[in-house]
């Protein structure tokens, strides 16, 4: 499973990265959390409000306010069910 946090490097992007890492640990998943700061790549994912959360190539969240930790877990789990 691949989880991407997309944002040019504002404080909210940082927080979302932390949330994603905590969520992965809490859920006990084998997943990597990658931070993407390249503007071109962010736009290629179709994200227009940062930070964005992408799980297995699918945009799960974009923009402010940030999702809660529970919400992040839920978003990640929704991809587990789908395989």
């Amino acid at each position: 499973m691949e989880i991407k946090v997309l944002g040019p490097g504002c404080s909210n992007c940082f927080k979302l990265e932390e949330l994603a890492k905590t969520a992965v640990k809490d859920l006990g998943l084998e997943a990597t959390v990658v931070k993407i700061t390249d503007i071109g790549q962010i736009a290629t994912h179709g994200i227009m409000a940062t930070p964005g959360l992408v799980v297995n190539g699918k945009v799960k969240h974009s923009g402010k306010p940030l999702p809660s930790l529970d919400k992040v877990k839920e978003l990640i789990k929704s991809e587990l069910v789908n395989g």
């Binding site: 040019p8 962010i42 699918k58 799960k60 306010p65």
Partner: protein, 317 residues
Amino acid sequence: MLKAFADYLVYSVLGMARGTRLSGALEFFIYDTIKIFLLLSVIIFIISIIRSYFPPEKTKRILSNKREFIGNILAALLGIVTPFCSCSAVPLFIGFVEAGVPLGVTFSFLISSPMVNEVAVVLLWGLFGWKIALIYMGTGLLVAIIAGMIIGKLKLEKWVEEYVYTIKAMGAAADIAKQTFRDRLVYARENTTDILKQVWAYVLVAIGIGGFIHGYVPEDFLVRYAGPQNPFAVPIAVALGVPLYSNAAGVIPIVYALMEKGMSMGTVLAFMMAVTALSFPEMIILRKVLKARLLAVFVSIMTVTIIGVGYLFNAIL
């Protein structure tokens, strides 16, 4: 009712004497604080609900392939409700261009979004009355529409960095789950607390200036330098405002102080627009997608339009 509450708090609870400068100032401070925070909470909450219906993806769809003019007007209006922060300016710009939104229309959106928003309008309403708030909103939209149209007419697409045109979005944002009305209410609540957390200190400072500095600096202090008689007041205010960086809430205390001390309305509004719409950090961010020449054209057009608005209001208000 609020007035009575402020009255009760100052004279009964704190037991202060009536008619002194301090008690009067404190009463004004308490009354204004409660009033403005109530206004802010209610209006931001309502706007947030509306906003949840206009994520950037939808705005992009509405604006793509729209004709100029109609497109500029729509873009300026959507700029009010679409969530935007300067850190998202670049992905948003690319997303718009990629979806076929004309360059001038994209600019109308980029100009209106940080300049005309609910926080700016509510604060102006609470501190100076609804007329000033409406005037600011109206002229802000006008500046966004005109500047966007000029940029569109100049056909400056060649001055956008080439790589922008090579990006093809995967359209993945459609994966974001559909929201129920309950989700929207939760979003609105979170967004309201988020914004209040960001602005409360500025608001208190602004009200404090109104309540306490009032009366301590001569009323006509600035009139001599920046009153309606000085033809250079507007360009100087705009020139000072362009490099300054602040959101609408941050600039409000300064705006309040300037207005209190006799700077004329048009000059103050022009200053506020220059601060919120143009700044060095934003230019650096936009430089990633715009060539320096286009950036220069953008700043020049905005500066001239804002100065025009300043003169217009000094003439008619």
